[in-house]
Amino acid sequence: MIISKKKDRGKLLQTLDRYDSFYLIGCSECASLCGTGNDEALKEMAEDLKAKGKTVTGMIVPKTGCQTLGTKVELKKDKDALDKTDAIVVMSCGAGTQSAVEIYPDKAVYPSNDTMFLGNMTRFQMFDERCTLCGECVLDMTGGICPVTNCPKGLLNGPCGGTKDGNCEVSAEIKCAWVRIYERQKRLGELDKMTEILPPKDWSAKQAPHKLYTRGDAAEGDRKDKK
């Protein structure tokens, strides 16, 4: 899931001060799990705005904010409230925010959150980054533990000299990704994989902005593959 966190509320309200009325859009998926775009978060935002003397013309928690077409259909139902508003505040990730920009090209759209990373919710509202979307997955070679993400240096060929008692040189709170990979591969009897030199990554696979079409006859693959 995409992990987001609330922007500093004071600063956000300052930024929004140039408008008088707002419509709030959350998201029932990641942003709800993060507590940044669920009903409760939207209500809190509405109260904060009202306390500043602003009007909230309406609010919605669409099913999937980054699903542009579906969100567009959901927003249609609230056309009046949206027409009335000066600006839209999107309380999901950066992708959800840009859905709203696409749907309402003539309205100001503001994000209420900072979009942080792709991660797992390990416990209630505790998130760990797991994948940096490198576009060329090496988990098959690394015991299912991602060194691109879990090693701050993204090393592909084993630990640096900074491992200290199995922890990472960057922070004692992080276990060295390569020690984890070693231990897991040892358990799996796959240590031979640790002797194979992994080649430099093809970072062009990560080059934004990506496009991917996989639908039937329109399937064109990644933008990069098209070239």
Binding site: K153, N157, G158, G161, G162, D165, E169, Y182, I197, P200
Partner: protein, 293 residues
């Protein structure tokens, strides 16, 4: 004789480290170079060591050459992508720099520009392969170059790393990737180091033991607590303590000299790499006490 030839001849080699200063005043560094001239087989020039911004390694390697010292260019992957790394290597080559030490590099979080974007486009093992390619007249993308490099490339290893197995596996990868010599992270326990050498001797590479001069018992404790991969045994800490404040540095120099003697006499490894960290001018004293001058 070049560093490469000396090392390959089987002679016990000695290298030391010069850390470029932060700023353009290079008077002290030049003075240190004068002192070290003629006493070392080569001198390592660190590359923004500990991720602290300083004069680049390449420029200081050139200065070392001008001062009659053979430089080893330390190259980390922290600050440059594959284009910049290769381009700097070609630059080093035309300036007459023949040795390169391929490293991943300390993370920017250790340094004085913590908000910098670390690069790590490639890493130490892959950088060794890149040097090989350049030596064969090809760049990393497989393009032909007009004129090849002829680097003698080395790498680093941490014999006291915990756990040691993944570190040794990486060592093996570095050998496979073309490392000719290794300079180790600081070692203080010669018996442990012998164990490491039992493993390392299986490979056709030269090993130089890294030695960091202790300045005080406090420094030894600091190394143990905060520097990964370094373990100063209690006996040495006690020895430093017993020496008292006045004689601490002198004792530290003695310990380093004693270790060099033992490593050489017992033929434990192929040479030593002395990291004096700010006391480069004391290196000749160590060498004298070790019977190498």
């Amino acid at each position: 004789m070049s560093f490469k030839d000396t090392l390959e001849s089987g002679k016990f080699v000695v290298t030391a480290e010069v850390g470029p200063p932060k700023g353009t005043d290079i008077a002290t560094m030049k003075h240190d170079m004068e002192i070290l001239k003629g006493k070392l087989d080569a001198v390592n020039v660190t590359d923004n060591q500990s991720a602290v911004m300083r004069i680049c390694s390449l420029a200081v390697c050139k200065l070392a050459l001008e001062h009659g010292l053979e430089p080893i260019l330390q190259m980390t992957c922290r600050d440059r992508n594959r284009i910049a790394l290769q381009s700097d290597l070609l630059g080093a080559s035309v300036l007459g720099i023949r040795n390169v030490l391929c490293m991943t590099g300390d993370h920017v979080s250790a340094g004085d520009h913590k908000s910098a974007r670390p690069v790590y486009d490639i890493e130490s093992v892959q950088l060794l392969q890149v040097v090989n390619a350049l030596n064969n007249g090809k760049d990393m993308a497989g393009n032909d170059m007009k004129g090849a490099t002829s680097f003698f490339q080395g790498a680093v290893v941490t014999p006291e790393s915990n756990p040691i197995e993944p570190q040794l596996m990486k060592f093996e990868k570095k050998v496979k990737a073309g490392a000719n010599f290794f300079q180790t992270q600081a070692i203080y326990n010669i018996d442990n180091f012998k164990e490491f050498m039992k493993f390392a001797r299986k490979f056709p590479v030269k090993i130089m033991a890294g030695l960091v001069v202790l300045k005080s018992a406090g420094m030894a404790n600091f190394l143990n607590n905060f520097v990964p991969g370094i373990k100063v045994p209690q006996e040495l800490i006690d020895e430093m303590k017993a020496a008292g404040k006045e004689k601490a540095l002198d004792t530290g120099l003695n310990i380093t000299a004693r270790h060099i003697r033992q490593l050489k006499e017992e033929k434990i490894c192929d040479g030593v790499h002395i990291m004096a960290i700010g006391m480069e001018d004391k290196v000749p004293i160590i060498l004298e006490r070790a019977g190498l001058l």
